[in-house]
């Protein structure tokens, strides 16, 4: 055809597309430089000497031989850093321990040397004399009357507890009992609700230790400049909170601390707190006046990085014959380990699931978090929700069975819906929960299989098939834990219409820089390749509260959209002025300013940008935006709408149980997630699939074995991660509830997929065999014993401190 057509640019959306991860080509080529790969000229290598006793007084530390070793620059003990400040959520943790060790991971001394090998050799020359103390190996022991104290108050010259000013941190003042934290929440009248119940069930559940197993081990590089300013290369998930905390520990102004995050080899919540190794590395760098790098070995990663803590949980639930839930009463005992990190605060999330996953008129929740001599617990993807869901969703099946109701119908009858405000004050402005339930059930043929499997329990052959369902509720619009739950964005366009997106949000592998670029490009009509993301330097990026609570897409996404919309308004106003038309009639598409109605190009965006730049007024298009979600802090009774949106899911797990060996094979997972709206379909699927398999590991294989405070399996041979041949078939679908506050309607989803799997697996094993197992993990030994009635059912009578 020779006839020239008027070129038009049709509207095209990036939302819901499969967008390739921006950093994937570098990573697939092995070019990405993680902290392990970084070399800073002049840097020293550091190692930490950890306790060889679980609980002991330190009588003496002799570092003289280590200091004398050629190549050793600095050896530090607590005595060398009298100014060290306690770290952690409860300020109960001094990085270097001088008088007492409370767990086997405790840091006693640290060495900076010319090489790792020399540092390692120096550690072997340090002599420590201990006086053993009684070990508290279980949380039950920790609350017994007269139990030895993990953090006793220091004694004065007369052997009496020293009196210290109020608000003295626990690390100095001690604690008169072993209770690290407690949480008590109630709504409704429990006694009346129980009296109105036709059926009541009560059971104890036992949850085990697992750990993150990031493929990249922990590491940090610290250096001071000549003026005493600190530069850290750190794997943190929360750079801005840490910048402030490190400044506090060093007693310097926060503006003198700069944190750069190299690409991070996995997070999953493990990098949410400051750990002793980071502070110790700073002390070494300060003393050596050289950059110091510290990287863990895998064994050290298992021994001295945080865990998801064991929980002993007793749940009492009731319902009426018609299937209406009446009440839940929960008492849990959390093993905090020897020090307090974020693990102690997981009850914030657990209580939400108990109070609000289903409509329940009365809920009474009590958690006691206790000190023991075990490895201490941190935050881990799901933040207590896996443990809570494990108990609740088994009770949902058990109650349904008692009243002769189909488990799916029972859930549907009590499921939350749009507009509901729960007893805890959570307000469900978007809620696709019921659609998640029906979709997952229909796609997996749940009802028929559930009935068939029960009918086939006594059929011949050792392998029984089972199907189980579980649901979850999790924050999906951030969580207002800190004074601000916001994120800032700085956006600039260059003369060629390329965008630099400077965001506070950290990339930890989850794909935030891709989805943020996508949201910006959706506004500006540009390809993803036009965006450069700067997201890893506290000296450049605007404030953000960090990667946690599945908040990044929602919070940083809204922030990025805000900055992009401001830029778009500027551009369209300039174009309208220059080309004599109304800006409302214009749009941005395919790198052009176009007439919105027809798609007819008005001017190439890059050309317009140069025009603005080199005009008399010499304007560059740069915008900023700070997004703060419309959520509120919980009050002292833990009530309040803490998230701007909530995410929902139902997952159906199918298993084959070999009754002769106890081996449980997870054959299929059918998951339906209310994600608000699908933004990057490829990234979303990846998050869900990865979470499902992490949940599979939690349910079936992973178990950090801690006996009398000693971790017995600190390696991948004995701590079993799921491998490729073991993964289930996965059928993942999405419900788009179009959240009114979410970026393009989306909600957070990072933690969601791991939460239901263990609960659904428990229900599936019961469906297959008629045997219910109340403790995790479902290893062949545990299942074999349970099937033969030889396992002890967990038992913990409801208890809370007076």
């Amino acid at each position: 055809m020779n006839v020239a057509e008027k070129p038009v640019i049709a509207a095209a959306s990036l939302i819901g597309q499969r967008i390739q991860k921006k950093d994937a080509p570098e990573k697939a080529a092995g070019k990405t430089r993680y902290i392990q790969d970084m070399v800073v000229p002049g840097m020293l290598h550091a190692k930490i000497l950890r306790s060889s006793r679980v609980h002991a007084k330190i009588k003496s530390i002799d570092t003289s031989a280590a200091k004398a070793l050629p190549g050793v620059h600095v050896v530090l003990t607590a005595a060398d850093v009298p100014d060290q400040q306690p770290i952690g959520v409860a300020r109960d943790h001094l990085p270097l321990k001088g008088e007492r060790v409370r767990s086997l991971r405790d840091e006693i001394a640290a060495v900076a040397a010319d090489s790792d090998e020399i540092a390692e050799a120096a550690l072997k020359l340090i002599r420590v004399e201990y006086e053993d103390l009684p070990v508290i190996a279980t949380p039950e022991d920790a609350i017994k009357p007269g139990a030895p104290l993990i953090h006793p108050a220091p004694l004065d010259a007369h052997g009496r507890p020293q009196s210290l000013p109020p608000k003295t941190p626990i690390a100095f003042a001690g604690k008169a009992d072993n209770i690290a934290m407690r949480f008590d929440y109630t709504h409704g009248d429990i006694a009346q609700a129980e009296a109105e119940s036709d059926v009541v069930v009560e059971d104890s559940f036992q949850l085990h230790y697992v750990t993150h197993c990031c493929m990249g081990v922990s590491g940090v590089i610290a250096e001071f400049d000549a003026s005493g300013n600190l530069l850290m290369y750190s794997n943190t998930q929360v750079p801005f909170l840490h910048k402030r905390e490190f400044a506090e520990y060093l007693n310097i102004d926060p503006s003198r601390v700069r944190i750069i995050q190299p690409p991070i080899g996995g997070g999953f919540g493990s990098k949410l707190d400051i750990y002793p190794f980071e502070v110790i590395c700073i002390f070494l760098a300060r003393a050596a006046k050289r950059p110091v790098k510290m990287v863990f070995t895998r064994e050290e990663e298992f021994l001295a990085s945080p865990t998801r803590q064991p929980v002993l949980l007793t749940l009492r639930s009731g319902c009426r014959k018609d299937g209406t839930l009446t009440f839940r009463q929960v008492h849990t005992l959390h093993d905090n380990g020897a020090y307090t990190s974020w693990g102690a605060t997981t009850p914030f999330v657990m209580m939400q699931t108990f109070s609000s996953l289903y409509r329940v008129p009365a809920c009474d929740y009590h958690t006691t978090v206790v000190y023991t001599n075990n490895p201490y617990a941190g935050s881990f993807r799901g933040y207590g929700n896996l443990q809570a869901t494990f108990a609740i969703e088994q009770h949902m099946d058990m109650l349904a069975e008692k009243i002769g109701m189909d488990p799916l119908d029972f859930r549907m009858k009590n499921a939350q819906d749009v507009g509901e405000v729960t007893g805890q004050g959570m307000e469900f402005k978007s809620c696709g929960f019921k659609e998640c339930l029906t979709t997952a059930a229909e796609r997996s043929d749940y009802r028929k299989k559930h009935a068939d499997n029960i009918a086939n329990r006594n059929a011949r052959g050792p392998v029984k098939r089972g199907i189980g369902i579980a649901s979850m509720l999790h924050v999906g619009g951030g969580a207002k834990i800190y004074p601000s739950d916001g994120c800032g964005t700085i956006l600039k366009l260059d003369d060629f219409a390329n965008v630099t997106l400077i965001t506070g949000a950290s990339e930890i592998g989850q794909g935030s820089e891709t989805v943020l670029s996508q949201l910006v490009c959706e506004e500006l009509g540009l390809p993803i390749s036009a965006v450069t993301v700067v997201n890893n330097d506290t000296a450049i990026t605007p404030w953000d509260v960090g990667v946690h609570a599945s908040r990044t897409t929602f919070i940083a996404g809204n922030s990025a959209i805000g900055a992009a919309r401001k830029a778009k308004a500027k551009i369209l106003a300039a174009a309208a002025k220059k080309h004599g038309c109304g800006e409302a009639a214009l749009d941005l598409r395919g790198g052009f300013v176009v007439v919105a109605e027809t798609g007819e190009p008005v001017v190439e965006l890059a050309r317009l940008m140069r025009n603005l730049h080199f005009s008399d007024k010499a304007e560059l298009v740069m915008t900023t935006f700070y997004y703060e979600p419309p959520s509120v802090h919980q009050d002292k009774a833990f009530k309040g709408d803490v998230s701007a949106a909530y995410a929902w899911a139902a997952q159906v797990v199918e298993v084959e149980v070999d009754t002769e060996t106890g081996i449980v094979k997870m054959t299929k997972v059918t998951g339906t997630h209310d994600v608000g709206r699908v933004l990057n379909r490829l990234g979303l699927e990846g998050q869900i699939e990865g979470g499902v398999v992490m949940g599979q590991g939690y349910a079936l294989t992973e178990n950090l074995i801690v006996e009398n405070g000693v971790t017995r399996n600190p390696n991948f041979r004995d701590y079993k991660l799921v491998t490729a041949p073991e993964i289930p078939e996965m059928d993942i679908t999405f419900v788009e509830s179009m959240d009114g506050e979410g970026p393009q309607g989306a909600k957070g989803v990072g933690e969601a997929p791991a939460i239901c799997i263990a609960a659904a697996a428990a229900n599936a094993i019961h469906n297959a065999t008629g045997v219910r197992i109340f403790g995790l993990p479902f290893t062949p030994e545990a299942v074999y014993r349970a099937l033969r009635g030889k396992s002890d059912k967990p038992h913990w009578p409801a208890w809370k401190p007076e």
Binding site: G30, C214, G509, E689, F716, A724
Partner: protein, 157 residues
């Protein structure tokens, strides 16, 4: 004083002569002496596959080899795959199928996958899963990695 040894080998197609400590692992030599950091330390005991390299065509955990074991061998690391068009397609498949998240296991995965591609270009999903069972990934749940390798295998058909 530790014992040193001179070795000669081919690294990514180029001859290399290095003096190494006899106790040094091949992984440490690649990373710290030669300066190629694409090969990752994940566990140091052959359980995670992050340090996978090719030695005379076969895949090996470089953390379980001594550096001196390289003497006279033909070594290919992830950096060496840059010159291999088949590996280009594989890397592109990893990107296209979303097989990369944090990326720390990815170089080892790509090395192992390239070996599958070379030795069994018609591998199906089950064969691929067995082929990468020695490579741990904590992010992806493996599905998209298997999809990527399968598409590269099919692409080569």
């Amino acid at each position: 004083m530790s014992l040193k040894h001179d070795i000669e080998f081919t690294l990514n197609g180029v001859g290399k002569r290095v003096t190494v400590d006899v106790a040094m692992t091949a992984l440490d030599m690649l990373r710290d002496v030669v300066g190629l950091t694409g090969t990752k330390y994940g566990c140091g005991e052959g359980e995670c596959g992050a340090c996978t390299i090719r030695v005379d065509g076969e895949t090996r955990n470089s953390c379980l080899m001594f550096a001196v074991d390289f003497d006279g061998r033909d070594i290919v690391t992830i950096e060496g795959l840059a010159a291999d068009p088949k590996a280009d397609a594989l890397r592109e498949a990893f990107v296209e199928h979303g097989a990369v998240q944090c990326g720390f296991c990815t170089p080892g995965m790509v090395m192992q996958a390239s070996h599958i591609l070379d030795t069994n270009p018609n591998a199906d999903a089950e064969t691929i899963k067995r082929g990468i069972e020695g490579n741990l990934c904590r992010c992806t749940g493996y599905k998209k990695i298997v999809d990527a390798v399968e598409s590269a295998c099919c692409g080569g058909r």
